[in-house]
């Protein structure tokens, strides 16, 4: 209707949608633009329904709004919705609690509405009368009634799908009874026969049509097409061309689906079996526990002593301590090589390898390495029995027992020396001890750095100060230190030092010593320190090495070689 063919008097440029058009205000355009001209802009078909009469009213109203400069209040009258008299609160109880996350939901209506048959007023009346005759114990509930009715309806639907069309007789009770299945519960069946009569009456009253009103679906009769009540037809699917390739493809796909389904099923059955076993085991444990308490009771009564371990305590070995096995190696004081990050599986063990946990594997591996190292060490010691190894950096220091890991302590524990003032400026610096304790949480390195607990990553390894205590011969206690600025005991040397004061081009603090980081001693030492760190990490994660105080690092950059310090009793005060 909007399309009007008009005689054009002059040709105009076509409107291009890609072109930028100037945006103007009303006052920037000349008044009353040529009406004709504006009409030459091609009218756009909105596809708005042509038959919709009010559409024209709308455009009229809008035209009026534009023309008059006033918006006509547009109102399309519609039939009213009014408040219902039904008791909303009763019918729709307040059950909904909104989950924090967006709802995800896939159950269907059928899953959610229970028995689809709903009692009519007639049903209610019938049931009331029926129950009156019955004694209290055997009354038929509404749910049971509906279950039976629903069963009758559904059974009829499957047995006589065209009951409404072909005037087939109402099914007999015997026919229906033969169909009883799990959809109709035991208690409901008791009433089935009585309800049948009612159902049959209702059914007959409606010409053997379904009692619950149903939609009309296509029946493939000719009448379907124009029947306004027939709805939701299937869309005929375009026939896919049948080729051999396609067939194979489809077969493959089905096979694959089948296989996947089988696998999933198998998995589920295993899970089920496992859970059953667990249940059995729990039952067994409980039994054992109970019998033990019985035994205990009896023993107490008969006042038998002894044998408690056998009878009353679980003999099952405690589960193997988990991966921290390397601790033992550390304790033995033999620094082994650190566990490799990935376990390369021995070839032969692939079969049940799935069942072995990675932790176990790692532990085993590192144990093996540690064992190997220790063995060699022992061998070495045997060779050296009676000999003094006077070489530089002997593998086994002849007189020292290899320092036991446990002998290494953090210097600044509560019972020992106070923590030196923090070098890293921190508002909590004053209360370092408290911080250290507070730090024994999970927070590892990162925050620990601020709290001067673990050696910071960015300070060079050799600059970090370390301590250990050893017990020497005769019970002498020695504290080894590393990276701590030596007190300037050698005051005498001042003069000497002075002599060299300006000799180099670098200040003494910047002096560095070349270190061969790959040499054995260093590796060993580093490993040992690392082990120590690990252990402490496990005990109190954050507080690993409070002794590695940064302050001293700043004071003292010496001892960069990483050598074990000679056993000098010191006091770092």
């Amino acid at each position: 209707m909007t399309q009007r063919v008009t005689g054009q008097r002059f040709r105009q440029r076509k409107l291009s949608t890609k072109q930028n058009l100037p945006v103007l205000r009303e006052n920037e355009v000349e008044k009353l633009p040529d009406d004709d001209a504006s009409r030459h802009i091609p009218k756009v078909e909105t596809g708005v329904e042509k038959g919709e009469e009010i559409v024209t009213v709308i455009s009229a109203a809008q035209a009026a709004a534009q023309g008059g400069g006033k918006a006509a209040h547009l109102y399309i009258p519609t039939p009213d919705a009014v408040a219902s008299k039904l008791q909303y609160e009763d019918l729709y109880p307040r059950h909904f609690t909104q989950p924090a996350t967006y709802i995800r939901f896939s159950s269907t209506v059928e899953d959610m509405i229970g028995c689809p048959y709903c009692m009519t007023a007639e049903d209610v009346a019938w049931l009331k009368k029926y129950n009156e005759k019955k004694s209290k114990g055997v009354q038929c509930s509404e749910d049971e009634f509906e279950q039976v009715m629903n069963f009758f309806e559904e059974a009829t639907q499957t047995k006589q799908p065209y009951a409404a069309v072909d005037n087939s007789p109402v099914l007999s009770y015997e026919d229906l009874e033969a169909e009883f299945d799990e959809t109709i519960s035991e208690p409901s069946r008791r009433f089935a026969k009585d309800i049948y009569q009612h159902w049959k009456d209702e059914r007959l009253r409606r010409g053997n049509r379904s009692l619950m009103p149903t939609l009309k679906f296509e029946t493939n009769l000719e009448t379907d097409d124009a029947d306004p009540y027939v709805c939701f037809r299937r869309r005929e699917v375009r026939q896919v061309r049948k080729t051999r390739g396609r067939d194979a493809q489809v077969t493959e796909k089905l096979k694959k689906l089948r296989k996947e389904l089988e696998e999933a099923r198998l998995l589920m059955s295993y899970v089920k079996r496992r859970e059953l076993l667990i249940r059995d085991q729990l039952a067994m444990d409980k039994l054992i526990f109970e019998q033990r308490s019985a035994v205990k009771e009896i023993k107490r009564k008969l006042s038998i002593k002894g044998d408690d371990e056998e009878l009353l305590i679980n003999q099952k070995p405690a589960p193997k301590p988990k991966p921290r096995v390397d601790m033992q190696a550390v304790q033995r004081g033999i620094p082994g090589m650190g566990p490799k990050p990935q376990v390369t599986r021995p070839d032969g063990r692939l079969v049940d390898s799935d069942m072995v946990s990675l932790d176990d594997q790692l532990a085993k591996k590192s144990e093996m390495i540690d064992g190997f190292i220790e063995e060699n060490l022992n061998k070495h010691q045997k060779w050296n029995v009676g000999w003094v190894d006077a070489t530089w950096r002997p593998i086994t220091p002849p007189l020292e027992q290899s320092a036991a890991k446990s002998d290494f302590r953090r210097v600044f524990t509560d019972s020992q020396l106070p923590t030196p003032p923090a070098s890293v400026s921190s508002e909590e610096a004053g209360d370092a001890m408290a911080v250290e304790r507070a730090n024994k949480q999970v927070e590892p390195r990162r925050s620990a750095r601020i709290r001067f607990a673990t050696p910071p990553d960015d300070v060079p390894y050799q600059d970090q100060s370390r301590f250990r205590r050893r017990t020497g011969r005769g019970g002498r206690v020695m504290i080894d230190r590393r990276g701590v600025k030596r007190q300037k005991l050698e005051a005498i040397d001042e003069r000497v030092a002075d002599r060299w004061k300006f000799a180099g081009d670098s200040s003494e603090d910047e002096q560095t010593y070349p270190v061969d980081w790959t040499d054995n001693l260093h590796i060993r030492y580093r490993i040992m320190i690392e082990r120590q760190g690990e252990k402490q990490h496990a005990q109190a994660t954050a507080a690993a090495a409070a002794a590695h105080n940064r302050r001293s690092i700043e004071n003292h950059n010496r001892s960069a070689s990483g050598h074990l310090m000679p056993p000098t009793p010191t006091n770092t005060g």
Partner: protein, 508 residues
């Protein structure tokens, strides 16, 4: 256009409308009489008569009103003190062949309700005969013989009006020719466009492959079949026919469960249902939530029952919606408000999983009990948000209803004016579309409709008219008072669903 040319013929010889006084007994289908409506007398056409409870009842259509206001009335509301218009006498047969569907429609509407169960027989026969022997006019319409005058009378009457509008040879400017009289005529004309322009076969084929809006006049011209609907806290008067079970025509009230949308013809059944129903929100995934509304996405294929129920419900309020085919190829985006009772369906729009014509909405509806509260705009906004997320331009499926068009035009206007008003000096129609996910055509239509697209100084310009600016200001002021509800794109958790070829073809 073809049908109108067809209708030119009678316009040459206009048949005067026959008027006169009538008695109650003389009233019949096709008669136009004055009927009291909301305290006013309005001219209404009788579409159907029936005896109910011993009294005659008339189903009337008020002129100039949408069909949704058609209603059953008692004889006491008909004003017989005024003259009635009689349906025009029968026209030559030739006429009827040309507009068979129309005739058919008329005949169909005359059929009593019991008859409606099986209208096809007479109809298909009719169609066949018409198509088979278009010239054999005398043999035509044997079934209609007993009541020819009524049927053809109505048709002719309407066609007559049509011609009056269309045969005006001098084109008038679009915006000016719409005075009241013309509107009436146009309305009648629109109604009278014969449906054979769009054959039923075309229609079905179109529906099979896409969309859910019917273009076919015969599809939409049915007498409303439900009296009243109870849903949630409201009782609603249906507007249009919906293929609920045929038994429901006898119920005074049909009860619809607010959550699962199941339908029950009597209150006892409904109450029983409510005691068992555990659904509390639309059965799909929530994809959007703000403190006002939630949106749920529901796949017609997975939630067939629920979506069918929804379609039946919405058909009560959508004239052009068709339920001819099943819901499988659609996704339903349902907007809900929440409280402790559950998520109350407020409105929804459906969307084809794959639209050949680039529609981003198939049907869109705010339930009548929630209308005029700004929900429609949220729905439209959300549909465009989805299109933006998909990186596509979208447009609603046509035809739009009157209310739908109103809603869309308001939305388009607001969005486009907002974009233009920011002080830019140039605008490009395609860019406007891209920024709003609107099709170029819709942008053009909006600009044109607001008289913003003009030709000045030898070039096209976009004019922000005073009227448009004023309207926007007023709207802003209103929003300030009432608070503005809008869709927040950040709260949409959604990826465009992908449907494999298999899920589209293995429909059943």
């Amino acid at each position: 256009m073809a049908p109108r040319e067809n209708s030119h013929e009678p316009s040459g010889t206009p048949v005067p409308v026959e008027t006169g006084f009538a008695t109650l007994a003389q009233l019949r289908v096709g008669v136009k009489a004055f009927v009291e409506k909301d305290g006013e007398k309005r001219k209404a056409e009788i579409l159907m008569t029936q005896i109910r409870g011993g009294k005659p009842k008339f189903y009337v259509h008020y002129e100039d009103f949408n069909k949704r206001l058609d209603e059953w009335i008692g004889a006491e509301r008909i004003d017989l003190s005024k003259e009635v218009e009689w349906p025009a006498p029968e026209k030559p047969e030739k006429k009827k062949a040309g507009s068979s569907s129309k005739t058919d429609k008329a005949s169909q509407s005359k059929q009593s309700k019991s008859d409606q169960k099986n209208p096809k027989r007479s109809r298909s026969k009719l169609d066949r005969e018409i198509s088979a022997t278009p010239e054999a006019t005398s043999v035509n319409l044997p079934g209609k013989a007993p009541r020819p005058s009524k049927a053809s009378g109505k048709e002719n009457n309407e066609l007559l009006v049509t011609s009056e509008v269309t045969d005006g040879t001098t084109p008038k400017p679009e915006d000016e020719d719409m005075d009241v009289v013309d509107i009436q005529d146009a309305a009648a004309a629109a109604k009278a466009i014969p449906a054979h322009e769009y054959s039923r076969e075309d229609e079905i084929e179109k529906l099979r492959t896409s969309g859910s809006m019917t273009q076919n006049q015969t599809e939409i011209s049915r007498v409303r079949n439900l009296e009243k609907v109870q849903m949630g806290k409201y009782e609603i008067e249906p507007w249009y026919f919906s293929p609920y079970p045929i038994d429901f025509v006898d119920s005074e009230m049909v009860y619809i469960c607010e959550f699962c949308l199941s339908y029950y013809p009597e209150v006892t059944q409904f109450e029983r249902h409510r005691s068992k129903c555990t659904l509390l929100h639309p059965p799909g995934n929530e994809i959007y939530r703000d403190d006002y509304v939630s949106f749920f996405e529901i796949d017609g294929r997975r939630q067939r029952t629920w979506c069918r129920n929804l379609c039946l419900l919405s058909k009560l309020f959508l004239d052009h919606k068709t339920l001819y085919y099943d819901v499988d190829p659609f996704l339903f985006y349902c907007m809900c408000t929440r409280d402790e009772h559950g998520c109350h369906l407020v409105g929804y729009f459906s969307k084809e999983k794959e639209s050949a014509e680039g529609y981003n909405v198939a049907c869109i509806l705010t339930l009548p009990q929630y209308q005029r509260k700004g929900f429609g705009k949220l729905l439209i906004d959300f549909s465009y948000l989805l299109s933006k997320r998909e990186g596509k331009l979208g447009s609603p499926e046509k035809p739009l209803s009157d209310l739908g068009l109103l809603g869309y035009r308001a939305y388009w206007q607001e969005i486009i004016v907002d974009l233009l008003i920011d002080g830019r000096v140039e605008a490009n129609i395609e860019d406007l579309g891209a920024a709003t996910a609107m099709t170029t055509n819709d942008v053009l239509h909006t600009l044109q409709n607001l008289n913003m697209l003009r030709y000045s100084k030898n070039q096209h310009v976009i004019v922000l008219t005073d009227a448009v600016i004023e309207q926007r200001e007023r709207q802003k002021a209103k929003e300030k008072i009432k608070g503005k509800r809008s869709i927040d794109p950040d709260r949409l958790i959604w990826k465009p669903p992908v449907f494999s070829a298999a899920s589209r073809t293995w429909n059943w």
